[in-house]
Symmetry: C2
Subunit: 122 residues, 2 copies
């Protein structure tokens, strides 16, 4: 669908528009890219289990619709975060670095769950 020359309906990338960002800083492109639904989850699952098939990855992501999954994989591929290997889909070296940063969110989420449990249903 979207081609390289189309800035309005393409993958958020460092150079590009980023949903109206004035600055155009790389982090804005990244936050926009990661803000698409299922994107974070896909990276997460690929970090946990590399090399799944399309349908296998789809199952891991709680049955995300194939249309969205294909779209996300295209975005992440264009961004150099994911690529297809002979075995299946996998994170690139860059993607693995990114996933490492996301791992920290896992620790935070665990503490988060503990604190939410304390506040809720007393």
């Amino acid at each position: 669908m979207a081609r390289d020359s189309d800035d309005r309906s393409a993958t958020p990338l460092p150079g590009r528009r980023v949903r109206g960002s004035a600055t155009g800083r790389p982090i804005m492109a990244l936050l926009d890219l990661l803000g698409h639904r299922w994107t974070l989850r896909i990276i997460w699952e690929l970090a946990q289990t590399p090399g799944p098939t399309f349908r296998g990855l789809q199952q891991r992501c709680d049955g995300v619709s194939s249309s969205v999954l294909a779209q996300r994989l295209a975005e992440l591929g264009e961004a150099g975060i994911v690529h297809r290997t002979e075995r299946g889909y996998a994170l690139t070296a860059d993607g693995q670095d990114l996933a490492t940063d996301l791992t920290r969110l896992d620790h935070w989420a665990d503490r988060w769950a503990t604190r939410m449990r304390q506040r809720a249903v007393p």
Copy 2:
């Protein structure tokens, strides 16, 4: 809109459904929450500049629509990540920890931009 008893249209929280997650692990709730549009950006901006007004934050986020901003702030408030102070909106202690993890994404994004520049327009 959504009330505490409604599990289907509410903020992704550690205990809750998480868009169909089977496991219900905290990280899944977090990845779902952060996958809502503008959520990552809002946390980022609050980390950079604490205490903005509603409209000030709206401007910082490239004019995100007020309806979505209010919705996100409610979600983040419910999740204990953001709260209102006398000065304005700010991250909670938990939210600041989360933002610290996000800071690492900034570094990654910078390297990302460099590598994308090398690959593109050869």
